[in-house]
Symmetry: C2
Subunit: 152 residues, 2 copies
Amino acid sequence: MDMPVTGPGGPDASSEDLIIAVEQMVRYVRHSARAGGLSIAASSALGRLGREGPQRLTDLARGEGVSQPNMTQLVTRMERAGLVRRVADRSDGRGVLVEITAAGQEVFARRRAERAEALQRLIAELTEPEQQATRTALLALARALRSRQDTP
Amino acid sequence: MDMPVTGPGGPDASSEDLIIAVEQMVRYVRHSARAGGLSIAASSALGRLGREGPQRLTDLARGEGVSQPNMTQLVTRMERAGLVRRVADRSDGRGVLVEITAAGQEVFARRRAERAEALQRLIAELTEPEQQATRTALLALARALRSRQDTP
DNA sequence: TATTGTTATACTCTATAACTATA
DNA sequence: TATAGTTATAGAGTATAACAATA
């Protein structure tokens, strides 16, 4: 493992600094998420259903990285809010397909636009090279997380 | 500066990619946070107390971006766990200073090491330019968030 | 017997409103 | 009257364990 080099004049990005930065990002995202009346968990699951189509509850739970009972509850709350609906899986009597509703699509689109705008506002405060680095970093991190999720 | 074009056709695709990436990071951090038996909220507040010293409950709440009652409860839980203690503020009979305990310091140090290691493992999966971009991006984003918090 | 989903139970985290005590 | 903190209440989000129904 290559240690973070603290060289003379070099960028001193200690692990702690990075962790603090990530925590700050998490707080920011959580905060800006609450503002719109849709929780992170809900908006994330809703987005997945919108992008990928109807899914089994188990797959949804695994994709979101939460437990099955957790997803049962989340889907119940979202169903109560009219964002998704449960549909019987005709190919497997045990299964349930979760499907986004038209209202859910609409809420998600608005929500996504708000959050994208908030992120853009934040990124706009950076210098041009930093903006470029941010795009590169976020996409690379997402890719690494995805590949990790595919093969654990 | 290339603006995110939000034409009549819908939201800009790369903005959405970035949002999805951020959400994925948030999930990852939250997940790796739970693994160690200390919640994000607790570890974040504990870290602040460790780095910045004893603070008024109100200041802690504002710094963490949560409500005062929320912080009262969080401090109560952490106090029950022996991580912090409440100390009377002699300069203001209404106030309470929250102070990290030795046990809290120890837990935080271990926790921080674990999380830094997890982040390093993730970053290690990226290419060298991406690693560089990630350090630059995280520090820049943290700086932007800090400056925003100072002047809202 | 294994898988899918739900129920039961118990935390943490979060907020707003109402209250107490001090300034 | 204003500020600091707590209590009361409510709800989201999370987990594990136990259960029912289906494969």
